[in-house]
Amino acid sequence: MSRLSDLVSSYYEPRMRLPEWFDRLASLGIVTSDPKVARRQRFTNVASYLGVLNTSARFIQNFSHDFENMFFVQAIVGFYLLWALIIHRLHRFGDNVAAVALVIWFVSGLTLVVVLFGLQSGAQYYFVAAGVILIMYGVEHWRLFLVTFVGILVVALVVLNYGHQEGVALAAGAPLVGRLQVQAIVITLLINNVVIAYALVVLRRAERGLKRQSARADALVSVVLPERIARRLRAEPDRRIADRIDGISVLFADLSGFTAAAHRLPPEAIVAYLGELVAAFDGMCAEHGVEKIKTIGDAYMAVAWLNGDKAASAVAIGRFALAMLDAQARRPPLGEHRLSLRVGIHTGTAIAGVIGDTRVTYDVWGDAVNIASRMESHGVPGRIHVSEAYRRAAAGAFAFEERGDTEIKGIGSAHTYFLLRAAEGA
């Protein structure tokens, strides 16, 4: 049974919590309120920090090596270090400003490294990571990505074709060369793995969320409509649902004296009392194979129609009615009033269908419903008042007591009965 309280909140899977300092660091300079843009910009920030790390490591590493023109090399590296450091401050100028600045930093930086240290440094391997840029731009900016990507391809082709094995600042065969190449391959490999794994983790979370929301929506539909009716509506949304049902048993149960008892009580107490009662009845419906139609104020309406088996339906609703009386007898009083149920049942013909488009209800109406309602209103508190038609349908399953002829509004004089208990041996 789908419970409403489980369905109302759009519950998301708890995500892995990052340490707060990391979160703050990753969110530096982000001003947007769109969570998707913020996510992209955080990604750009983290990428720029990795750039800072890489450049500063290079800056320090350079001191341990003797370059042709150390001052010139270090000035360039220092400039790129500063550039990477201010990337996060660019978000305020536009969604993709920081990302574009980082891309230019990346491409021009790589080109410079190839010029300074030569193709032997392996810096050109980093070009392989160019696809990562799409995360920073977002899929919706695929045009910008395409332009950038083609630009990078052109730069890569130029660098690869016109670059020399040895660079301006680093002669061929220097001891640093092998290390630089391994470094370039390993870092590119790492970046790729992290990015792909990250995208897949987020994707999996989104797919799980989607499944949950789908189930939630479907469950909400079944809170409103019986599942078989929902299925028919799903298949043909514009088809009107209206079925003539013969041999349906209809039950009305009213809390007699409820209005008087509720008069001076706080609303929470009243709704709590009714809510618990109705929840208990709802649970019993499922147990007895009875279908709840609705509550009308302090009245509860249910029907039974088990695959057209008139007798089985009548028996099911009779057992349900006895269980209702039993449940009500064990409930605490409301205020000072001990309330009892007045139940009416009838078996007959009705029309069942879905009416309306907002506050939609699956409803049953027709003679059977009217007579059942009259059985209830002309009944006696604490007893189950049934029509002759019902007694005949459920004969053998229950013990009945004759009430005699009763004058019933809209029907005239009718012979009615009280349902007492399950028959011996039934």
Partner: protein, 425 residues
């Protein structure tokens, strides 16, 4: 207005449809049903096809260059091409059979190229594509993906540490080496970008679907409950909705003689008549800013003043009642009978709340409801009977006609009025 029928089925973001033949090629050999597994295996198929393309073009290029010198590599490339073309047939042997074979195929292909051409040809750059293992194995098989990644990293280490710049093949032409190197890097850039783009596009689509599905569920909730109540429940699902509300105007309207008229009609006609009536009623409620509470068979219940002031709710209800009467006059007969609304209105206080677990409903209980219901049941077909309180509230804006004193069950003797129409100014 949120319509239930629009919400029953989920409509996701439109998908790009690939031509049938592309779809067939990509899905070759896949027997799995789990959509996520199918997706992984399709990626493995595409990767295998891309690999076959790469090795076969290499094979052809070598034919034109120096087939004698490259004979060993030609045999290897031919074998790799054929092997790649059979990878899609491995899916039947297990979820990850193709992924594993693809991993070894890749390691063997790249390593042999690196050994053959030497590091100078940069074939080892292809190894940076190793991140694809996450896509073909799937996150759920992260252990296997890690093992595959470990194997790839070992291969990289061995190749970079022990392979000479100059390979087995003696290539004198520096431009040929440069061409090979460029090709390795550009190919890697392209393949890598394609994989990332694919992953991100799928992610983006899924997130869009997630958003619209979540919105659908929220909209469904407001089909069941008034929006204000739905919002309160969303904020706190455990909250018990129970409010004592004063100054509520409650309307009951009953289609007099409906049951008798419906008696010998086909169910479709009866439901159609009722459904049209209810939809018109819903529309009127929306237009005049009052809340439909429910229909009870052939009688309707609405309440004004839930969101706004007592007066605006009372006025809205009066307009709905008058418009209902007017619209009903123009409706066709049901089974040869003209049906009239008998309307009852009262203003007072009630308790409003949500009860039940299934077929839940927002409902009202209390004096306002009981008196309004009596106003209806003791009313006159085609007329709108209202209580004295209601007339007092709206006496300056609407015309009323005194009915006199009526003895009403549960209330006693009380004077009631008929609502006639708006007062002309």
């Amino acid at each position: 207005m949120t319509r239930l029928r629009d919400l029953l089925r989920f409509q996701g973001a439109p998908r790009v449809r690939m031509p049938r033949w592309v779809d067939r090629i990509i899905s070759a050999g896949i027997i799995a049903r789990d959509p996520q597994l199918v997706r992984r295996q399709r990626i493995a198929n595409v990767a295998a096809l891309a690999g076959a393309f790469n090795t076969s073009t290499r094979f052809v290029a070598n034919l034109f260059y120096d087939p004698q010198n490259f004979l060993l590599m030609e045999v290897i490339f031919a074998a790799l091409t054929v092997a790649a073309l059979f990878i899609h047939r491995l899916h039947r042997f297990g979820e990850n059979a193709a992924a594993w074979v693809l991993t070894f195929w890749f390691i063997f292909g790249v390593s042999s190229s690196a050994i053959f051409y030497g590091l100078q040809a940069q074939a080892h750059v292809y190894f940076v594509l190793a991140g694809i293992v996450w896509v073909v194995f799937g996150l759920e098989n992260w252990r296997q993906a890690l093992v595959a990644l470990g194997l790839l990293c070992t291969a990289i280490f061995l190749i970079m540490a022990f392979t000479p710049q100059q390979g087995i093949a003696i290539i004198a032409d520096q431009s040929a080496i440069s061409f090979l190197a460029t090709q390795s890097i550009i190919n890697s850039v392209l393949v890598n970008a394609a994989v990332l783009c694919y992953a991100l596009v799928v992610l983006d689509r899924t997130e869009q679907d997630l958003e619209s599905e979540s919105a659908r569920a929220d909209a469904l909730l407001s089909v069941v409950l008034p929006e204000t109540v739905a919002a309160r429940l969303r904020a706190d699902p455990q909250a018990r909705i129970a409010d004592r509300l004063d100054g509520l105007t409650v309307l009951f309207a009953d289609l007099v003689g409906f049951t008798r008229a419906a008696h010998d009609q086909p169910p479709e006609a009866v439901a159609a008549y009722l459904d049209d009536t209810v939809r018109a009623f819903e529309l009127l409620c929306e237009t005049h800013g009052v809340d439909k509470i429910k229909t009870i068979g052939d009688s309707f219940m609405a309440v004004g003043g839930l969101g706004g002031s007592e007066r605006s709710g009372a006025v809205g209800i009066a307009r709905v009642a008058l418009a209902m009467q007017e619209a009903q006059g123009r409706r066709p007969a049901l089974g040869g009978r003209e049906l009239d609304f008998r309307v009852g209105i009262h203003v007072g206080s009630a308790v409003a709340g949500v009860i039940g677990e299934t077929r839940i409903a927002y409902d009202l209980w209390g004096d306002a409801v009981n008196v309004a219901s009596r106003m209806e049941s003791y009313g006159v077909p085609g007329r709108i009977q209202v209580s004295e309180e209601y007339r007092t509230l709206l006496g300056s804006e609407f015309l009323f006609e005194e009915r006199g004193t009526t003895d009403i069950k549960g209330i006693g003797c009380t004077s009631t009025f008929f609502l006639v129409g708006p007062r002309a100014h």
